[in-house]
């Protein structure tokens, strides 16, 4: 028996307290470390959670069947992945819920959740509740509320996820004992899950993590450093970027991927920019401000831990990235990744990483401007810049993508004498 279906005044199906107890929530995968934390936190709160890690080809097919085929690729994949899970028979259709992020803002990504609901309706599964996961307080659900402690844990998820991703990316290509980095990632993931992600001991814990990664014996070998920036899903999710990180590793590169913290601070910041720029009132300005302050604070902690450890590339903080971007795009440019994308490329260039892959779904609207649209200007300002824009799409061939990346790498190696 499925739970009683309750709708809000706009006709949206709610995720109720009853569902919380009985339903399994399917979570699409994006960042492995972060998402593992997230799943664990939800489980600790009594939710049944399943991370969707399938990369089967059927995902694209189901995506094509479920949404308009010109919809952005991340929506097509995420929705395809959920449909695949629902059709797999592994889950009770009457006791399953879905969760999807909702960003808000003028990009069509704000519509993912609606497209997902449309896809469910088309398939006759309107009774499956969809939970919006967002920072802005959109679409509340009675069964999806947490004690304040959990919010701190969510902050911890981002901070710890970021530092583990950042440091492991810096040791993995150089480790003397193959597999050591990944073992340490697993060890810390487990440890943090077991100990709980207390923010009180955060500074100390970050230090220990940095020390542990710093202790991994590494070779002194010159590798091509490649920055990966772009649309958030395609940049992070292996399903979206045809295993880009693994490909770069096989090409003997060190991958540099900016963390999630910047994006979250950006989400808080851009609402404030509107209120400042146009003097318009924004109801949730206080929440935005809080997000910006809190995450900025912890970003400083993270940066401090990496810097103190020594030997690692230290990421720049949000404020620095924003000021770098300001020479090229205004901070009013805020849809999608907005100015942050340009800023991340600049941060890479300023820290000596000239080789950049700018990833996006085919036809990504904001990236026309802040990604591809800024490459010319970035090159003019930074003569060594070696940037390639790669589009991802159900029809684009991997050969084509890899061939273009190889061109970028050939130029990089020539410049570095590798």
């Amino acid at each position: 028996m499925m739970a009683k279906l309750v709708y809000d005044e706009t006709g949206r199906l709610l995720f109720t307290q009853e569902m919380r107890e009985e339903y399994t929530i399917l979570v699409p995968m994006m960042l492995p470390v972060h998402m593992t934390f997230l799943a664990k936190i939800l489980k600790a709160q009594g939710f049944k959670v399943e991370l969707l890690t399938s990369t089967s080809r059927e995902i694209v097919n189901l995506g094509l069947q479920s949404v308009h085929n010109d919809t952005c690729y991340p929506a097509l994949l995420v929705i395809g992945q959920m449909m695949e899970a629902l059709e797999s028979g592994k889950f009770d259709i009457n006791k399953t819920a879905l969760i999807i992020t909702q960003t808000g803002g003028g990009c069509r990504a704000s519509n993912y959740i609606h497209l997902l609901r449309k896809a469910l309706k088309k398939r006759g599964w309107e009774h499956i509740p969809v939970i919006s996961f967002n920072l802005a307080g959109m679409e509340k659900n009675p069964g999806f509320k947490f004690p304040i402690k959990v919010y701190f844990e969510l902050v911890g998820t981002v901070v710890y996820g970021d530092i583990i991703m950042n440091l492991s990316n810096q040791t993995r290509p150089y480790e003397i004992n193959p597999g050591e980095t990944d073992a340490l990632v697993d060890m810390w993931t487990q440890k943090l899950l077991d100990e709980g992600m207390s923010l009180r001991r955060l500074r100390w814990t970050l230090g220990r993590i940095a020390a542990d990664f710093g202790a991994i014996p590494i070779k002194k070998e010159k590798k091509t450093k490649v920055g990966v920036v772009g649309e958030i899903y395609i940049k992070y999710a292996a399903l979206g970027n045809n295993n880009l990180e693994a490909f770069l590793a096989s090409e003997n590169c060190e991958v540099v991927i900016p963390g999630l913290l910047d994006f979250i601070i950006f989400m808080g910041d851009h609402h404030l920019v509107d209120t400042r720029r146009y003097k318009i009132k924004y109801k949730k300005a206080a929440v935005s401000y809080l997000i910006k302050i809190v995450f900025s604070f912890f970003q400083k902690r993270l940066i401090g831990a990496v810097r103190r450890q020594g030997g690692f590339r230290v990421p720049a903080d949000f404020r620095t990235i924003k000021s770098l971007a300001g020479d090229y795009v205004s901070d009013g440019n805020k849809m999608g990744e907005g100015w942050l994308l340009t800023g991340e490329m600049l941060e890479l260039l300023h820290s000596g990483i000239n080789n950049i892959i700018c990833t996006q779904p085919f036809g990504c609207l904001p990236n026309h401007i802040v990604g591809k649209g800024m490459i010319r200007a970035l090159r003019d300002g930074h003569p060594g810049a070696n940037i390639v824009a790669i589009d991802y799409d159900p029809g684009a061939t991997q050969t084509n993508q890899e061939n273009r990346i190889k061109l970028m790498l050939a130029v990089a190696r020539l410049a570095n004498g590798i």
Partner: protein, 964 residues
């Protein structure tokens, strides 16, 4: 010795250099999809003729990627290899342009070196020329020779091969001269290369041209040199087709020498290795399964009568399709008397004349022609040339034919060479029509030209696929992407059988997911009839049945259904006696074709004039009735109204000097606002005027993203046009994330492109650096606007704040006034339709679709079909609607409201105009469709881009108007 092997998408090149880097051996060969096998053979030959021994070797080329991985031989990226070779062999050049079978590349050597390859959406250069040659039934040499004789160049979309083909196909059917088409094909490649690759950098100085097509095709060379105005700067080095291989050999020489036998062994190993591309289930598991399938489909034959003995009345149907020409003659019992099916060879008139003459001779004396009808792309040309009684739209023809086979038919799908047409029927009435858009066109003819490129007939190629064990997954976006997927599959070693089956599945997926967009078979209908020549291919038919999970009816004359339907139509009209051209006139039939530019209005349409038998004239290429001497009926058309209204905002001299506004994107609606505001402040406000093709070309070299929408791309040209005015010192183009709040949605954003394109222009158009370019963030919807604007103009121009506040007030009034005029026009138009009993079509898009270069005259086409045209912004704001998507963009809220408006009124329909690449319309189009269909209306969309030709749009619109 130094060996370089370049395995490209269509050819393999092997070069052997001696220790002084002199070429001692070279060979160039097409690999016909057997890239590795060919490479191994060619290497063997090379080693045999040069002696082998200790060598260095390296691979390069797009198809060598995985071969290099498996064999462990060094790989040199091809653009990089080109650079190495150019530096070594040519030396002093500024830039290199290299075209290959699939990829196009540009290298800038001087002034900051940079290497570029085309994006995924602009692939297929050489492969495209091959396809076009086969479409024109010419060899590459003939195509090239003809191109040198051209007199005239047509505008052909240069986005990609598929788009270009969509423009070429109708030209052929209008009777344009092949020489002109050949040169236009080349020109579109040149434009594509410049727009897609140069991206803001000028190609000038000494430019070296490389790659197969530029080596062998003189006409293509000539177009590049003249377009880039290179003169003596163009360098065509010897061995241009071998540069990548030479670069690989040079670069490979840095590695360790190996024994030649070892190199050969490694490469052979790559040849044997297995295919990694994703595979699909086989079409048929066994011979028995196929036999059962064949038996089932054998039941749908048509009764025939012997034309040699028949005595009585007959009706003629002709289908002049995009790639084939069909002709059918039926008797009074709808039995088949005669049929003919042949490739159109790019000249439907000549293709038809012979069979028609033969038919008339067969009929002479015994059989009386009671009527004739023609359908298809060549409809008007054929109708005029041969005096056919009726010209009918394809959907009508197909419906007549399908009904004959299955009285209960409720779904028809026709896949022809160029187009896919699907329609649902309810109670014998067309209920919804789905036609492919440009991106998914050309699937049928793609298989054909692909098969012939591999040296197979379509039949033989299709049969290969039936029992393929592991059909490859080739995706479904478009034929350019499919072609590229095929290369990857070949590169991974897939066989021709697996590719054949994979292509069939791709074409079907394209139809099901891109055109029909159905979730399940039940949605399609109970009785499905499939037709079109492409369905004669059993692989396609099977793939379709598998994909939708249902058996369908394929008439034995699937390829003739259009003509059959036309004949049935002619019969139903009962004219008494057909006016068809007589036997004598047909024997002496002559045609003369001329091209000319129409000078009757500013559009300057390029007209193709056909003169038949020295007298009767047929003019095509026109967008209105003027060149035909017809006085167009004066029906309300808001597109013309809005255009004229915008152009009435003219500059007034001002004390602060000239300021320029680029007329595009958001400016199309806000011109009255900014024009008034700035004029009031004391500026002489000029704008860049309407777009045209020349304007686009003038700005295309600074477009950084080739997949952005055409209206955005045009902005680069608008800036260039403003910069031509030497007196202009300031250009104003504000960034506006928010639009005005009309209270219809959950929010009132602009799309990211409209909102932020001004910043992109600043970063890419170098001319803007020499003037004052202002792109401030502004939010006129906010209450703070007067204050903030006052501050802004005070700071930038030292204007008194009070003055600005008054100007802002005037600007708001002007905007209100502008909007009200448009609303009032909408009211009048609706009233006119009511009193004159006319149908109304809401041609719904965006304000910037008012630009004639953006809508390409769709509004005029509609007017010529006798309907009243209004745009979505003619309707006054409505109350907020409940939708299943987030309604957060001002322009798009109007779409939903307009759809609701149309859904509620019997005489109003809605046609959605969508710019290619508009991501937001991926969301709006489905929602608009739902709203219309819930109101029992047919949803029609027209995708527009650079494509100039309205052929496909015309079919859609006529189908819509004839549906009910």
């Amino acid at each position: 010795m130094r060996v370089g092997i370049d395995i490209g998408s269509t050819t393999v090149k092997v070069v052997v250099l001696d220790s002084d880097n002199h070429i001692v051996y070279k060979k160039y060969q097409r690999h016909h999809s057997k890239s590795r096998e060919t490479a191994v053979k060619m290497l063997t030959q090379a080693l045999e003729s040069t002696g082998g021994g200790s060598i260095t070797a390296a691979l390069s080329g797009s198809a060598a990627l995985s071969a290099a991985g498996i064999s462990g031989l060094p790989f040199v990226q091809e653009v990089f290899a080109t650079r190495v070779a150019v530096e070594s062999l040519v030396g002093d050049v500024d830039a290199v342009v290299e075209l290959g079978g699939e990829d196009a590349k540009i290298l800038f050597i001087t002034g900051g070196s940079e290497e570029r390859m085309n994006g995924s959406c602009a692939g297929g250069t050489g492969a495209f020329i091959d396809q076009m040659a086969s479409l024109l039934s010419l060899s590459l040499e003939e195509l090239d020779r003809l191109s040198l004789e051209h007199l005239h160049i047509y505008n052909i979309a240069s986005r990609c091969g598929v788009f270009a083909k969509s423009d070429i196909q109708p030209l052929l059917n209008q009777g344009a001269i092949k020489a002109d088409i050949a040169a236009s094909i080349y020109q579109s490649i040149v434009s594509q290369t410049i727009a897609g690759l140069a991206q803001g950098r000028e190609i000038k100085g000494r430019v070296c041209f490389l790659g197969g097509p530029l080596t062998f095709l003189k006409g293509l060379r000539r177009r590049f040199v003249s377009t880039l105005e290179l003169g003596d700067g163009a360098v065509f080095p010897e061995n241009a087709e071998f540069f990548v291989a030479i670069g690989a050999a040079l670069e490979g020489a840095r590695g360790e020498p190996m024994d030649s036998a070892d190199v050969l062994r490694r490469l052979s190993r790559a040849n044997e290795s297995d295919n990694k591309t994703g595979t699909l289930r086989p079409l048929f598991a066994s011979e028995e399964e196929y036999a059962a399938f064949s038996r089932r489909h054998a039941q749908n034959g048509v009764p025939e009568t012997d034309i040699d003995t028949y005595d009585g009345d007959a009706w003629l149907g002709i289908d002049a399709g995009s790639t084939t020409t069909k002709l059918v003659l039926i008797d009074e019992n709808d039995r088949l008397l005669y049929s003919f099916y042949a490739p159109g060879k790019g000249d439907p008139l000549s293709a038809l004349r012979g069979p028609l003459l033969k038919l008339l001779e067969l009929c002479a004396g015994r059989i009386t022609l009671r009527g004739a009808a023609v359908t298809g792309y060549g409809e008007e040309l054929i109708q005029n040339a041969f005096n056919i009684d009726f010209g009918i739209v394809e959907t009508t023809a197909h419906y007549y034919a399908a009904k004959k086979f299955d009285d209960n038919v409720d779904f028809i799908i026709d896949i022809g060479g160029q187009d896919m047409k699907c329609f649902k029927l309810r109670d014998g009435v067309v209920d919804s029509i789905m036609l492919n858009e440009a991106c998914s066109s050309g699937c049928g003819s793609f298989i054909e030209s692909f098969a012939s490129a591999l040296g197979y007939s379509v039949d033989a190629f299709a049969r290969l696929g039936l029992f393929a064990k592991k059909p490859v997954n080739l995706g479904s976006r478009c034929t350019v992407f499919m072609n590229s997927s095929v290369k990857q599959a070949q590169n991974d070693g897939a066989g021709v059988d697996d590719i054949s089956a994979g292509l069939s599945v791709s074409v079907v997926k394209n139809a099901v997911y891109k055109v029909i967009r159905a979730k399940n078979a039940a949605e399609l209908g109970r009785s499905i009839v499939v037709q079109g020549g492409t369905f004669l291919n059993d692989s396609i038919l099977r793939a379709f049945e598998l994909e939708i999970g249902r058996d369908v009816t394929r008439p034995a004359i699937a390829g003739l259904m259009g003509a059959f339907g036309a004949a049935l139509y002619a019969k139903s009209k009962a004219v008494g006696k057909s006016g068809l051209i007589g036997i004598e006139a047909l024997r002496g039939f002559s045609r003369e074709t001329k091209t000319t530019a129409c000078g009757l209005c500013a559009n300057g349409c390029k007209l193709t004039v056909n003169i038949f038998n020295g007298g009767k004239k047929y003019i095509s290429g026109n967008r209105c009735g003027k060149p035909l001497g017809k006085k167009a009926e004066d029906l309300p058309d808001s597109y013309e109204f809005k255009k004229d209204l915008l152009l009435s905002y003219t500059p007034k001299p001002g004390s602060l000097g000239k300021i320029g506004l680029p007329l595009g994107l958001g400016m199309y609606e806000l011109l009255p606002f900014w024009h008034t505001l700035l004029s009031e402040l004391g500026f002489e406000v000029v704008h860049s005027g309407l777009s045209d093709r020349e304007l686009y070309i003038s700005g295309q070299h600074t477009i950084p993203s080739d997949t952005v929408c055409y209206p955005a791309k045009l902005m680069h040209g608008h800036i260039e046009r403003l910069l031509e005015d030497r007196e202009l010192t300031t250009v104003f183009f504000p960034c506006m994330p928010y639009n005005f709040d009309e209270g219809m949605g959950d929010n009132h954003y602009n799309c990211p492109v409209v909102a932020f394109y001004p910043e992109l222009l600043a970063a890419n158009v170098s001319g803007l650096k020499s003037i004052k370019y202002l792109a401030p963030y502004m939010a006129p919807h906010a209450r703070s606007f007067p204050r903030l604007a006052a501050q802004y103009f005070h700071e930038n121009f030292n204007i008194k704040k009070g003055t600005v506040k008054i100007a802002v007030q005037r600007a708001f009034e002007a905007y209100e006034d502008f909007k009200n005029k448009i609303y009032a026009f909408g009211d009048r138009a609706l009233e006119f339709a009511e009193t004159h009993n006319r149908r109304v079509i809401i041609l719904a898009g965006r304000p910037y679709h008012t630009d004639p270069e953006v809508h390409h005259g769709v509004n005029r086409l509609l007017s010529s079909l006798g309907v009243v045209v209004i745009s979505e912004d003619c309707l006054r704001p409505q109350a907020k609607m409940r939708l299943s998507v987030l309604n957060q963009w001002t322009y798009h809220s109007r779409l939903y409201a307009a759809a609701k408006f149309a859904a509620e009124r019997p005489n109003v329909d809605l046609v959605q105009l969508i710019s290619f690449g508009c991501g937001l319309d991926a969301i709006t189009s489905d929602e608009v469709k739902d709203i219309l269909e819930n109101g029992g209306k047919i949803y029609t969309l027209i995708k527009i881009d650079e494509i100039n030709n309205l052929g496909a749009a015309k079919i859609r619109l006529r189908s819509l108007l004839e549906a009910k």
